[in-house]
Symmetry: C2
Subunit: 259 residues, 2 copies
Amino acid sequence: MIVGLLHPGEMGASCGAQLRKAGHDVVWASEGRGPGTQRRALDAGLRDVGTVGAMVAEAEVIVSVCPPAAALDVASQAAGFAGLYVDANAIAPATVRGVADRLTPGGATVVDGGIIGPPPDQPGRTRLYLSGPRADEVASWWEGTNVEAGVVGDSLGAASALKASYATWTKASTAMLLAIRAVAAAEGVDDALQAEWARSQPGMDTRSAQARNSAETKGWRWVGEMEEIGDLFAASGQPDGFLRAAAEVYRGYPRLPDA
Amino acid sequence: MIVGLLHPGEMGASCGAQLRKAGHDVVWASEGRGPGTQRRALDAGLRDVGTVGAMVAEAEVIVSVCPPAAALDVASQAAGFAGLYVDANAIAPATVRGVADRLTPGGATVVDGGIIGPPPDQPGRTRLYLSGPRADEVASWWEGTNVEAGVVGDSLGAASALKASYATWTKASTAMLLAIRAVAAAEGVDDALQAEWARSQPGMDTRSAQARNSAETKGWRWVGEMEEIGDLFAASGQPDGFLRAAAEVYRGYPRLPDA
C-alpha cells in the first residue's frame, strides 16, 4: 500500500517509520518543508514525491499528522484526493468535520484519529484511537508495529474528543502549573509553595520541573491544540477558560528553530 | 487571652477548639447565625457574646475564618476594633489589604493568614501561614495545638498569596477534571477516557472519583475563592481564565442546607 504522510514532523516521521516496518511504501512531499523535516523523512526511510499534488495522485491513503492549527490547511491542499484520509491531529471534533467537508466532495473517505503518547519509537507507549467509517481498516495497518491502534466509536469526532479530553488534563494543567509558579514568584512565595508541595502534594516537584521543559520544547505546538479543545469545551457547554488561559501561557514559549 | 472568632464554620470551629486547648477564652457572636454554627460553637466550647459589637468591645484579638466572598463584609462589621485582627481567609492579597483599610483606621493591626489542610481535628495535617506585622506573635498562640503555624513573610498578602497558589492547583485542577468528564460524557467517550487514564495516568481514577464529592460538599464555598485567586492572577499578569472557569464549574454545585 502506498501511504502519503503529511508531514514528517517528530510524531509523523516516527509513525511513518512504523508504517514502513509494517511493509508499506510511505511517501512524503518535500516542497516547502524545512531541513529538519527532510532529515527526519530520510531517517524514517520515506520516499519523496515532491509535492502534495503528486502524493494525492499516487497514494492510496493519506495520513495527516501536523500541528493542530495547520490541520484544515493541510486538508485543503489535499482536496481532490479520492482515497482514505486519516486525520490524526489534536483538533476539535468540529474541525475534523471541517476536514471531511474539504475532502469528501472529491471522493475521499475521512477517518478520525487521535494519538496519545510519545512518538512511537518504542513499543507499548503510543495509542492511536480511531473513529468513523473504515476505522477498523485503518487500525489493521498498524499490526506488529509500536503503535497500538484501536477503534473508539462510529462517529467522526469521537477519537478527537478522546484525545482532547485526555490532553486537557496533561497539557492545560501543565500550563496552569507554570502560571501558578509565575504568580508565586511575583508574590515572593515560590520557595514556600515548593516546600508546602514537597510536604503535602507528592510528585509536584517532579511535575513542576518537567513543566517548563515541556513548554519550552513543545509549547508552541500546544497553543493551537488548547484553542481547538477550547472550541470543544464551548460546544459541550463547559467553560473554555481553562483552555484559553493555557493557550495564553503557551504563547509565551515560541517555536525554537528546527535545525 | 480573649479571642473572638468570626465565625464557627467547619474550619473556624475546629480552629476555635484548638485555641481553647491552648488555654484561651474563645468567644463567638450568635446573632444572625444558623443552627449548624450554634451546634459547632457549642461542641468547640466557645462562649457566646451575642453580637459582633460585643466581641469588638471584649476581645483582645479577632480571628476571621469565613467563606472568601464574606471576608470584607465580616471585616466591615468589626470596624472600630482596636486589637490584633487575623484574616485567615482564602482571599487575594489585594483583598487582605482591603480588610486592613477597613480596620486600621479604628486602631486594629491586621495580620494575614492562609490555612492549608483540613480543619485541625487531628495533628500534623493543618498549616496556618502568617505574614505581616506581629505574625510571629500570632504564630505563638498555636503552640501545642494541632495547627502548625509559621511565618511566610513580612508583607500583608504573602500568606494569602501562598494559600492562593496552593489552592489553584488543588481546586482549579479539580474543577477542570469535572469539566473534562462532562465533555467526555457529552461526546460519548467517557468510558474510553477512564480506560486510558487507568493505563497511563496513575491516580486519576481516585482523583476523579473524589472530585465530584468535593464539589458537592464544598464547591459552593470555592466559587468565591476561585474568583479571589483570579484577581490575584490578573494582578500578577497571568491568565485568570483558569480560575474564572473553575468558579463557573463550582457555581453548578449549590450550597446544601446547613443542618
